[in-house]
Amino acid sequence: MSMAMNLTALRTIWIKECTRFLRIWVQTLVPPAITMTLYFVIFGNLIGSRIGEMGGVSYMEFIVPGLIMMSVITNAYSNVASSFFSAKFQRNIEEMLVAPVSTMTIILGYVGGGVARSLIVAVVVTVVSSFFVPLNIQHFWLIVVTVILTATLFALAGLVNAVFAKTFDDISIIPTFVLTPLTYLGGVFYSISLLPQFWQTVSQANPVIYMVNAFRYGFIGVSDINAYVALGVLVLFNLVFFALAWSLLHRGVGIRS
């Protein structure tokens, strides 16, 4: 297929994906805003005021980047996981499979949809947070690059999950048993420097640590980990998951009998 035709196909998938989450905005855009407001009120305001400073800033300021990141992660993941799985389930994935759409285009379209949703949610949550703490931005482009790489990574992971999923339960198991623990242990609510040395080392195996810290560095200029090391790790994870998603879809795993 020519470049122009591939772009048309890509645009089609991407717009369809965006239309989907915008159509059900009450399920996709409102909940993260509510959850985050609760986090700000409870952890930030009520409990945070007793904790004092962390990393040289107020506790509230400290957790804002991590909370934004948390909503980016869950939204990117669940958007692609549920959209792709329901396309498998309703079999409308076949509309793409019979057409000369390349595997690359399908991945970019779905991941693009997940990234779009998580960026919208990120903006919503950031706006909500600005009611609680003044918005402080140290390294704007680092924030942008980190959030896009993170959203892409979890969108890809959601896609891989959906490829293997056989029932709707299968797309909630990974978020519950893997994603949530990783984000909670990913330095959203604490600086890993508070941990004993052993757990600090273990924490470095958690990819979320890198995203949260790079992101936090972008906002408040404080990080447990060098921001460029963090970006490097993110890029690496993205490549691995892209290769995995491509190879699965190209072979038709879970979508062609």
Binding site: E95, L97, A99, R256
Partner: protein, 310 residues
């Protein structure tokens, strides 16, 4: 003559070991209207799935308008429009979204896709429904939606897997008219059906598939000529004394309807002569429609016996 479809020694073994196709050969010429018939589980949908790349083949060769499925997949896909056996659109999208998006996947620019959407949705009587969500359509409308969707990239080969299942007579006829029309405009059509009347009305050539093999591949005319006995139903003016018929098998259904089996070589004249001689007035006469079904059952049985004796 250009071949729209050429399948050689096609085999499919599903995961779990079921061999759905056991070396299937099939050729369909450009411009043909071809019926693929066969009992449930014969392998029709599997064959169609492989042609339209929804199912991976195990072995064999498939060419569509000369393009090879293995090496020229994108070209193959562009030639084909598929109307699958089961509804496979997103129930929450609107009619227009579904067809316009499908065109997008084929790289048709959005503006052109919208023009075509209007054209084909209008032709299929769905234009008024364009903003309705697919799940609110009736079964017949859903079938027509899938036909419109398959046509939006203007394929040369349209494949329909039981397009009229669950569609009422009136709608079925209008679908037949539509398919006949687009076939006359040059689109090659392959369809599967369990309604033999449908195959007989529409199709020029026919393949019968059973247990993963083609057991008959012939023209409709030849197939029908294999039938040497036809059954006719005579509608007579009500009579009080039953007629007699020498040389023909005859059944009386009631006091004004007769069924007579007429061997091809004997013709109908003698039947009329006998009826006239007995002062029976023939009001109307029709051909009993199920003869093809009988033939079909015969063929499938013959095929099975042959295979067992091999």
């Amino acid at each position: 003559m250009t071949k729209a479809l050429e399948i050689k020694s096609l085999r499919k073994v599903y995961r779990g070991g079921l061999e759905a196709l056991k070396g299937l050969d099939l050729t369909v010429n450009e411009g043909d209207f071809y019926a693929l018939l066969g009992p449930n589980g014969a392998g029709k949908s599997t064959t169609i799935g492989i042609i339209s790349s929804l199912v991976n083949k195990t072995e064999g060769e498939v060419k569509v308008f000369g393009y090879d499925l293995d090496t020229q997949l994108a070209d193959v896909k562009r030639q084909i429009g598929l109307v699958p056996q089961e509804f496979n659109f997103n129930q929450f999208e609107t009619v227009e979204q579904i067809v316009v998006n499908q065109a997008g996947y084929y790289g048709v620019p959005r503006k052109l896709a919208k023009e075509r959407a209007q054209k084909y949705l209008t032709q299929l009587g769905l234009w008024d429904k364009r903003n309705d969500r697919a799940r609110t359509l009736s079964g017949g409308m859903k079938r027509r939606l899938m036909i419109a969707r398959a046509l939006l990239h203007e394929p040369k080969l349209l494949i329909l897997d039981e397009p009229t299942a669950g569609v009422d007579i009136e709608l079925r006829r209008s679908m037949w008219d539509y398919l006949t029309l687009i076939n006359s405009q040059g689109i090659t059509i392959i369809l599967t059906t369990h309604y033999l009347e449908e195959a007989e009305t529409l199709c020029r050539n026919i393949g019968i598939i059973d247990k993963g093999r083609i057991i008959e591949n012939t023209s409709m005319k030849l197939l029908l000529s294999k039938l040497n006995v036809e059954t006719f139903v005579f509608d007579l003016e009500p009579y009080s004394n039953s007629p007699t018929m020498t040389g023909f098998t005859m059944r009386e259904l009631d006091n004004h309807t007769l069924e007579v089996d007429v061997p091809k070589e004997r013709g109908l004249n003698n039947v009329f002569e006998q009826l006239t001689a007995q002062n029976m007035k023939v009001l109307s006469m029709r051909n009993k429609a199920n003869r093809l079904e009988e033939l079909f059952v015969d063929l499938v049985e013959q095929g099975r016996n042959q295979k067992e004796s091999v």
